[in-house]
């Protein structure tokens, strides 16, 4: 017996894809012509070992095989080749409220759902109060769940699922449930489950959540494993993958974007940027026609498509470009952004007028993250200090300068390498410490 909770060896899963609805009659008629079905490998050559208490993230684009892998880990489907071995009780948080029936009351559904998740009746009895407490639906527990709000429904389902005390918790994107307060509770509960020695596997497009929960990631791409290792490196590799044209650019006869890349402030190619740092976009744009008013545009979108920032150069600011000239374009911007995946895109045109010829570059993905230990969407770079409490005289301000020597400044130092452009923290009350 190995000490691994999860052991995946050379696993592949093949699905049959029908080109049309397989009507028995048409299939029989077409029997000799051969079946119009093809095989698709949703997942192949995956190896993964997970030790107890470890949390591993699985990332990749839609259709990269993440859900297929989770279905196998949940025991729902068997691999076509290779073996999947799981030791211990698995709680699949793949969707919440499995088997909930709208006509049954919350209480009845808790029992049905709990038994589906592998609890015995006695175990559910023992957990019932804490389930109720976590979900916060005490008043409605004897009401049929069809009268529940969607939030209540999901909270109750999640509460049962996390009460299972699993050895393995599979989390698939369900954290996008409930309001913010409930999400925070879910995160805390998952931390607690992990501290109790459970293994957690997370599939999410929310890389912030992955970074917070997982020490390792498995990157899947088109069903094949591309990377297995340290989280930040995996996230970076993932962005290298999505940086390859997802949104194809459009060139015109007059303007072509021949080259586009994003670098950090030192000019090194990158796909991961620390929050607040400078990003350099470098491009080559070729103009086939001469123009007096070349215009350039930079746009940053969130991965959800929401526009975060867009700015273009005013035509008046331009200089003449000759026909056949290739210009080098450097655009710098500060990634003062919450932790997330972003896409950056440039466009170049001849004049700002509608209908003027312009080229739109492909979108490159990159990840903005705060310091790795910081939770939440934004790294606000808080500084902490403490000292002996002095009696207030004329308010706090008056008290501070009288005892500057006793202050101890506590801060978690970011590693110098990770934080280029390191700034000193301000310590209130000691003016001389302020840099600049």
């Amino acid at each position: 017996m190995s000490d691994k909770v999860i052991s995946i060896r050379g696993v592949g899963k093949r699905y049959v894809k029908y080109d049309d609805v397989p009507l028995l009659l048409t299939r029989a008629l077409r029997f000799r012509a051969g079946n119009r079905r093809t095989h698709i490998w949703a997942l192949r050559n995956v190896d993964l070992d997970v030790a107890p208490g470890e949390s591993v993230g699985v990332i990749g684009r839609n259709g990269s095989g993440k859900s297929t892998m989770f279905q196998m880990l949940a025991g729902v489907t068997a691999p076509t080749e290779g073996t999947v071995r799981v030791q211990g009780r698995v709680a699949p948080l793949i969707s919440v409220g499995i088997g909930f029936h709208p006509e049954l009351t919350g209480r009845e559904n808790v029992y049905v759902n709990g038994m589906i998740l592998g609890l015995t009746k006695r175990e559910i009895d023992a957990r019932f109060d804490s389930i109720l407490d976590f979900a916060g639906v005490e008043e409605f527990i004897d009401t049929p769940v069809k009268f529940y709000s969607s939030g209540m429904f999901v909270r109750l389902g999640f509460s049962v699922a996390v009460s299972v005390d699993p050895e393995v918790l599979l989390v698939d994107e369900v954290l996008a449930v409930g309001d913010l307060a409930f999400q925070a509770k879910c995160f805390d509960r998952m931390d607690e489950i992990r501290r109790n020695g459970a293994t957690i596997l997370v599939v999410s497009h929310n890389l912030n959540a992955i970074r917070r929960l997982c020490s390792r990631v498995l990157l899947l791409h088109d069903g094949l494993p591309r990377f297995l290792g340290e989280t930040d490196e995996g996230i970076s590799k993932y962005h290298d993958l999505i940086g390859t044209p997802t949104v194809a650019g459009e060139d015109t006869a007059e303007v072509q974007i021949t080259h586009f890349e994003i670098c950090d402030s030192t000019g090194k190619l990158t796909s991961q940027v620390k929050a607040g740092e400078e990003v350099l976009c470098r491009a080559r744009v070729r103009f086939s026609q001469a123009t007096d008013t070349p215009v350039f545009l930079l746009r940053v979108n969130k991965d959800s498509g929401q526009e975060v920032y867009a700015e273009n150069t005013p035509p008046t600011y331009s200089r003449r470009v000759e026909a056949g000239e290739t210009v080098a374009l450097d655009i710098r911007f500060r990634a003062a952004l919450p932790t997330a995946t972003y896409f950056v895109q440039i466009a170049a045109g001849m004049g700002a007028f509608e209908g003027a010829p312009k080229a739109v570059g492909k979108a490159i993905g990159f990840f903005v993250g705060g310091r790795s230990w910081v939770k939440g969407t934004n790294d606000l770079e808080g500084s902490f200090e403490f000292g002996r409490a002095e009696p207030y005289t004329d308010g706090l301000k008056a008290a501070l300068p009288s005892s500057p020597k006793r202050k101890a400044s506590v801060k978690r130092k970011a590693s110098a390498a990770a934080r280029t452009g390191h700034r000193e923290r301000l310590i209130p009350g000691s003016e001389e410490n302020i840099p600049r």
């Binding site: 196998m72 729902v76 068997a78 073996t83 969707s95 006509e103 049905v112 589906i116 592998g118």
Partner: protein
């Protein structure tokens, strides 16, 4: 999940599941099956104002229609009470037919559950039949009451109800296991079963004696439902023919169907979900 507290963990590969593992998982899932069956039964009648009465009332109403019409149309030379003969047949048949019909689609209908958590897929048809069985028990009580009213000669033979019920349940489970698995691959099964129910009803002699059909009637002894109905009638004191041979034929059917079901579930238990 399935084996939960007892034997946590599992190993999956492309190979068929072992028979012992399959049976062990099924055994481990027995409480889950009971819970799901009760929920299913409860939900079915919850919105109806007279609830459970429908489960009992429907076959009785159908039986009474046959009793009234057939008594006017013809006279079967049964030598036993015709109303008890029909009601006995009707209550068993209506359980059997509705159980098989709902169980046939049970794996497909259960995809919401089956694609999220693992439990042996064979439990879905069993749950469906067990859920129907909850309504059958009160029906049998009503049957006994009606038999007393119609002065059927009840006696020690009533103990035959137990093996008759076990045989009927086994037959329903065996047929449903095969049909439900086929239904995953050929969604026509649902309609094939629906279309077969009526011919099967007339081929089972539910409301008339099969012997009146002559040679065809003797051939219909190979119908697995005939043995079950024969045992029930013998139990209620309205038996008109020997039930032993047809019952043995039914047992043989159960055996054959289970033998067919085992390799199907060993091979496809963990793969059904891919087609749901």
């Amino acid at each position: 999940m399935r084996t939960a507290t007892r034997s946590p963990g599992f190993e999956l590969s492309g190979e068929p599941v072992g028979l012992t593992a399959l049976l062990r998982d099924l055994w481990a899932a027995r409480r889950l099956m009971q819970t799901l069956a009760r929920k299913d039964f409860y939900v079915r009648y919850r919105r109806a104002s007279i609830g459970l009465l429908w489960a009992v009332g429907l076959p009785i109403i159908q039986a009474l229609v046959f009793v009234v019409i057939f008594s006017k149309l013809t006279h079967f030379n049964l030598g036993v009470s015709y109303p008890v003969f029909v009601i006995t047949g009707m209550i068993s048949w209506s359980f059997f037919s509705s159980a098989v019909t709902t169980a046939t689609t049970s794996i497909v209908d259960g995809s919401g559950l089956a694609s999220k958590v693992y439990f042996p897929r064979a439990s879905l048809p069993i749950v469906s039949i067990w859920s129907n069985f909850h309504g059958y028990i009160p029906s049998v009580v009503v049957l006994l009451g009606l038999a007393a009213i119609f002065k059927a000669p009840l006696g020690w033979s009533l103990f035959l109800l137990v093996p008759a019920t076990i045989l009927m349940l086994s037959l329903a489970v065996a047929i449903s296991l095969v049909f439900a698995a086929l239904h995953v691959y050929f969604r026509d099964m649902k309609y094939i079963v629906q279309a077969s129910i009526l011919p099967w009803f007339w081929a089972s002699g539910v409301v008339y004696p099969l012997r009146d059909l002559g040679r065809l009637g003797r051939l219909l002894k190979f119908n697995p439902a005939v043995g079950v109905l024969g045992m029930y009638r013998a139990a209620m004191g309205v038996g008109i023919a020997s039930w032993t041979v047809p019952a043995l034929i039914s047992v043989a059917w159960v055996f054959v169907l289970l033998c067919a079901a085992v390799p199907i579930y060993r091979r496809y238990d963990r793969v059904f979900v891919d087609l749901l």
